[in-house]
């Protein structure tokens, strides 16, 4: 049995990793909650956002954190245009078409990235990357603490927007009953596009927060996709609180599993949670029953 100090350090590491899972999963759960589809292009769009952050730093010298508003706005615009110009237009209102289009987009994005950027691993070297905050046995990298706090903050802001703003109300109305929303004058297609844009904007934020400690290559987004799907299922499809709590639970489970059972076997904890949730509470921890 490892030292309790090591366990505590493992929990802290897991919470910090979970912060990023939260951001990736929040976008996915929003898109599912409103459009009722699984966005198969999520990992590829995260990868594109990470390349955006990388090139802003490489070509213009813009720090990833300073780039946050630029990348969030750019990702929102990209997501919005993608939905308006492609997904919404060619899906003809059929969910299975949206699934196929997002799957096709993922393949196109991955291969275009490979063509343009090659398969090479790209990293960002920032001066604060090596700054450490020591908490007991844990040596917590400052960028990971920042990403955790920013993820929680962005989640809170998104939750507030959804709860208090007119846009949030419209999104919730469309998510709940799209025909009814249309009848009361809500532009449902516009809400779909905005929701998709917000989901991709979350990926933009995740990309900025990840890059100081991670890398980007044409396949790097896929590392987070399975974990994001698991988080969404655990928290409940379409639930923001669920995605936030689920992401942190997954992060800590993965971390402690790795510490106690080894890096490979440790992943079993995530799968166990996934199976148990599907067996005992298929709607997830915070999902609404149907």
């Amino acid at each position: 049995m490892p030292d309790p100090a090591i366990i505590l350090a493992g929990v802290l590491n897991g919470l910090l990793a979970g912060g990023i899972y939260v951001l990736v999963a929040v976008g996915l759960t929003l898109i599912y909650g409103v459009l009722h589809i699984i966005n198969f292009a999520h990992g590829s769009l995260l990868m594109l956002a990470m390349y955006g952050v990388f090139f802003l730093w490489r070509l213009l010298g813009i720090d990833p954190y300073v780039a946050l508003p630029i990348v969030i706005a750019g990702s929102f615009a990209f997501g919005y245009v993608l939905y308006r110009g492609l997904i919404g237009r060619f899906s003809h209102g059929r969910d299975e078409n949206i699934l196929l289009i997002t799957l096709g987009l993922a393949i196109v994005f991955d291969n275009v990235a490979l063509l343009l950027f090659t398969g090479d691993t790209q990293t960002i070297d920032v001066t604060y990357a090596g700054t450490i905050v020591q908490v007991g046995a844990a040596f917590l990298p400052l960028p990971k603490i920042i990403s955790f706090l920013a993820a929680i903050l962005l989640c809170g802001v998104l939750g507030l927007v959804m709860a208090r703003s007119q846009l949030g109300k419209a999104i919730r109305a469309v998510a709940h009953e799209r025909q009814g929303a249309r009848l009361v004058g809500i532009d449902v297609e516009q809400v779909f596009a905005i929701s998709y844009g917000i989901g991709i904007a979350c990926l933009g934020a995740a990309a900025c927060l990840l890059m100081p400690t991670f890398y980007v290559s044409p396949t790097s987004g896929h590392a987070f996709v399975l974990i994001a799907f698991t988080t969404v299922v655990l928290g409940g499809m379409g639930s923001f609180v669920g995605a936030a709590v689920g992401g942190l639970i997954i992060g800590v489970t993965e971390s402690l599993g790795g510490l106690l059972l080894g890096e490979q076997l440790g992943q079993i904890g995530i799968s166990l949670i996934f199976i148990l949730i599907l067996l005992l509470r298929p709607t997830g921890l915070f999902g609404a029953g149907r």
Partner: protein, 407 residues
Amino acid sequence: MSRNRKVHVTRRSVMAGAAAAGTLGFPAVLRAQAAAVKVGIIHPVTGFVAYNGQQGRLGATMAVEDVNKAGGIKAMGGAKLEALLGDSQSKVEVGVSEVEKMNEAGVVAYVGCFQSPVGIAASQAASKYNTPFLIDVGASDLLVTRGLKNVFRLKPGFGACVDQGIAALGALNEAAGKPAKAAVIVHESGEFGTGTAKLLAGKLPSVGIEAKELIAHDNPTRTFDNVALRIRSMAPDLVIMSNYQNEYVLLARTLYQQKVNLAGLFSVLGGGFNYKFVKELPDVAQYMMDTNHWFNPQSDKAQALKKRVEAGGALFTFEVYLAYSTVMLLADALERAGSADKEKLIAALNASTFNAELLPYGPTKFVNGQNQGGRAAIMQALKGDIEVIAPTDVASAKAVFPKPKFG
């Protein structure tokens, strides 16, 4: 009469002209008419290891270009090499189908495939046609221990690199007063990482170093924070890494960010130890060591090729010069065989004494398809550059070991 004469003279003139042209004016045309020698070049230019594949293709096509510029295969009337490019997509079955397609196209030999599993299956498929298969990159010793007569590997394999790396590490440790007594091995969980880790763990005691623990990880891995935590709690003197590029960089970065104090970070065939890593993350890479394929820094030809590759915006990674040298080995064998006949080509490869000028190798000597003259180099990242620290005859710098501790 005059008309006949005129015709007669004209015919003579034409005949004489043709004869003269045949000996003087048209040799280039005659050479160009020699049938091109088709070479199948298979790399994973898309998929999981696309970067490595793209680098391999770059080296191979540059070599084909250079052979052709220098007049082609002279013993075959100046026959040009014609590269048929294949993409294995990092998948075994696709690599095999590329072999079949290229066989239909009439290739004389294959060069490839970067990944050992693809190379194993693809060379097996080529053996059905008795077509020589030259492995440019592929670490597994299984490539050349299956009794296939058509497979040749210029570079040293897995086992030889581990032996050489361990011997160099032992010598380094001995010279420094044995600061390293225990090591933790972090490896990817596939055949490459697991195989290397087992070999390393078995051989480290021979140089007085205990392998405290083997930590396996999946590809991709999102974070190495807990691995760093475990390493810190075990307090080894060395961390030995065996991973592909992404995880290699992420692990090195995490150990640096978490300021894990070690006497050294060492790898055998480290997937991410290259110029890009060392130049872009110089603080992370500083003092890291790797046993790998490397060019001979004292070779003018290697330095010239390096400049050419870098001028084109690419990096001079091991895939480039290994693929380049392997195509040159094939061209040399074609010269010796004087024919594209597969039997003659295999015989020429078996008898080959090719001098791979870019590499720190001696003349080739193939035993069961494995070149006995190949050897790896031990490198260290020093001040944003990569220096060769062993073998001493090609070394460009003295090793720094143990590395300074974090303050």
